[in-house]
């Protein structure tokens, strides 16, 4: 009797095992990686980007996957812009997780992995970094508007207001350095004067010295293309010195006001315009889902990475329909150019250009009552 009981239990167990294994083999896994700022002064970016990726991945899988594939992602941390962790992350994602595509962020980490990406035919998508150096790199596609497009828009606005002298303050990082260069060149091209340029250490919190020098130079405007909390501490330091000149930059993370408080009011920055009040059904769905899960409306970073996962979905679908292997990065790359237009979470379509950039609506924000408010629009 005991033997019969054991045999029945074992048989039942084997049936369940067989069934579950069978179900799992119905869908193959499409793995992709994400190298984000999960720790350090830029961790706000990484967390919001990951939320966008997570929502999109869950939606795709709940809808049954695509082309026989369920989506699965691996997150790695470049510690807010460090290149060695980014490169280590790339190696782990490609050699252990075997991903054919990576969603990257921050300019220095992205640039640092591109030689390996090209060699291994791994497509990299950037939805967060803005350095003008990210143009014309094989296997790199940017869905974030880059500095060479957003910086002139901001500075032209201020030039039109009658400001003529500029001081710059930027972090010792790839993107801020190249954005500073772009800003200085553009401002001087307009006929303006750059009265001082100061570089600061990434992660600095005390800007008293830098602000003292800016105060002595008395510029009409201050351009600060630093990222994450660096720009927050810079704004705070400048305002504490009693300097009232408008401050403009290229970044505004959601935790800036935790450092600045009302000192950030008046800060200007241009970026792609993700309208949380859009009536586009897909946008509205994403905004509602994100808000329900996180208690706040999504920013454009979360939107970009949500959109990127859906772009991957389209690419996988195209490759599978063509009878190819979506785990092969070169086939995914080829699939982009079969039609470089993809449905955009911003409404309408996003179109990739051959130089690695894309077309998206850009707006100028001003911080008012500690919140970004659109004050000017431009389509590039």
């Amino acid at each position: 009797m005991k033997n019969w009981k054991s045999i029945c239990l074992i048989s039942l167990f084997l049936c369940v095992l067989g069934t579950s294994t069978g179900l799992a083999t119905d869908l193959k896994e499409f793995n992709f990686g994400a190298v984000l700022a999960m720790t350090g002064s830029g961790s706000w970016y990484g967390m919001t980007m990951e939320k966008g990726i997570n929502i999109a991945t869950n939606e795709i899988n709940e809808a049954g996957g695509v082309g026989g594939y369920s989506f699965h992602y691996f997150i790695e941390d470049h510690k807010s812009g460090l290149t060695i962790p980014a490169q280590n992350a790339f190696r782990k994602l490609t050699s252990i997780n075997h991903v054919p595509t990576i969603l990257s962020s921050f300019s220095a980490p992205t640039l640092s992995i591109m030689p390996m990406a090209k060699e291994n035919k791994v497509i990299v998508f950037n939805g967060g970094a803005s350095s003008p150096e990210l143009i014309n790199i094989s296997y790199l596609h940017n869905t974030r508007m880059l500095g060479n497009e957003i910086v002139p828009f901001t500075l032209q606005y201020l030039w039109n207001k009658g400001y003529r002298t500029m001081a710059t303050l930027y972090a010792n990082q790839t993107a801020p350095i190249s954005l500073n260069q772009a800003a200085v060149e553009f401002w001087e091209k307009l006929g303006g004067k750059v009265v001082s340029q100061q570089m600061h250490q990434t992660g600095a919190t005390n800007f008293t010295s830098e602000a003292s020098i800016i105060k002595a130079k008395n510029p009409d405007i201050i351009f600060c293309p630093s990222t994450g909390l660096d720009v927050a501490y810079a704004i705070k330091g400048i305002r504490e010195m009693g300097i009232k000149a408008p401050i403009c930059g290229t970044e505004h993370s959601g935790d800036v006001e935790k450092v600045t408080g009302p000192a950030s009011n008046g800060y200007l920055f241009a970026s792609e315009y993700f309208d949380v009040n859009s009536t586009d059904p897909w946008t509205k769905h994403f905004v509602d889902t994100f808000t329900k899960q996180n208690g706040v409306a999504p920013d454009f970073y979360a939107a970009n990475y949500y959109e990127l996962v859906y772009i991957l979905k389209d690419l996988v679908s195209r490759v599978v329909e063509a009878g190819g292997d979506p785990q092969d990065g070169s086939q995914l790359e080829k699939a982009i150019w079969s039609n470089p237009k993809f449905k955009s979470i911003y409404g309408g379509y996003i179109k990739f250009r051959e130089n690695g950039t894309c077309e998206k609506p850009v707006v100028l924000f001003e911080i008012q009552d500690e919140k970004p408010v659109v004050i000017d629009k431009q389509h590039t």
């Binding site: 720790t39 350090g40 961790s43 706000w44 010792n172 100061q198 570089m199 600061h200 250490q201 919190t205 005390n206 008293t208 010295s209 830098e210 003292s212 020098i213 105060k215 002595a216 909390l229 501490y233 305002r239 504490e240 010195m241 009693g242 935790d255 935790k258 450092v259 408080g261 000192a263």
Partner: protein
């Protein structure tokens, strides 16, 4: 001239903070010769305690007092439960240093895990810039400088005029002889860890009035603490104070001629030059 004065005043404000940090670490090191790396963790924890209690709607003063108490208790606990047992087992200085480093790293990581990496501001003060001629500073800067100098004077009076202060100086000068005359070094060590931790807790609360707390704030505080001590001369707290102020002013005023990105390079260059020319520190005494 206006820029020079502004940088001088800004440097003095920063230097005052460095002086307090240096004295907080120096009183521990001078007495116990323990490279107390976990001092940075005490600084971080004090900031978080204050911010968290204010977030829980406790008034500011009680929150500060709890934060200072927390810092003091943690510092004493590290000495009593970690370093003292190791000394009794004749552990090497390197082993004690590694333990201290481990406590610092583990403690910071734990704070990050529990509270996240996001900055936690103390929303109690409005910063008001105050301008006197070409010089501008804030109300918090003014309060910081006044409080720091009052505390430094009190510390020196304590060390010079009280029985406990004299015992601390005796142990600092010669621990063996101090034992012979009946001073319990172990109790003195706990006392200096308590005082040092209280002082670093005060430095932390002054910092958090102006800047948000985050898990990594202790690192810079620790760095400036021991740089100031070695710059001023080990065993000489007056030297530490002078070194702190000089370092703050030098870092700031040098920016008239050097680009601002050289600030960190300057700090270590000054330390390197002083140690090269005068290894015992600015006001330290040469050992026999």
């Amino acid at each position: 001239m206006g820029l020079f004065l502004q940088l001088l005043v800004s440097g003095f404000i920063t230097g005052s903070v460095y002086a307090l940090l240096g004295v907080s670490w120096g009183i521990i090191y001078n007495t116990s010769r323990t490279f107390h790396f976990a001092h940075g963790l005490v600084y971080t924890l004090a900031a978080y305690i204050i911010v968290l209690f204010v977030e829980l709607s406790l008034p500011l003063i009680p929150s500060i007092l709890i934060g200072l108490m927390g810092a003091t208790v943690l510092g004493c606990a590290i000495e009593y439960f970690a370093y003292q047992p190791m000394r009794e087992k004749k552990a090497s200085q390197l082993a004690i240093f590694l333990t201290s480093l481990g406590i610092m790293i583990a403690g910071q990581s734990l704070i990050q895990l529990l509270f996240g990496p996001d900055p936690r501001p103390l929303k109690s003060f409005q910063l008001i810039p105050i301008s006197i001629g070409p010089v501008t500073f804030t109300n918090i800067n003014l309060f910081t400088v006044i409080l720091i100098w009052i505390i430094l004077v009190l510390v020196f009076i304590f060390l010079a005029r009280t029985r406990s202060g004299m015992m601390i100086r005796a142990v600092s000068s010669n621990p063996e002889k101090a034992t012979f005359i009946g001073i319990d070094s172990k109790k003195i060590f706990v006392l200096v860890f308590g005082i040092g931790s209280l002082l670093v807790g005060i430095a932390s609360f002054l910092s958090v009035l102006d800047n948000p707390a985050n898990p990594n704030i202790g690192v810079h505080a620790l760095l400036m603490s021991f740089i100031t001590v070695f710059l001023g001369g080990v065993g000489n707290l007056s030297g530490t104070v002078v070194a702190g102020v000089m370092l703050g002013i030098a870092e700031s005023v040098m920016l008239i001629v050097l680009p601002t990105e050289y600030k960190v390079v300057m700090t270590f260059s000054i330390l390197f030059l002083v140690i090269l020319i005068k290894p015992e520190g600015l006001m330290g005494k040469k050992s026999a």
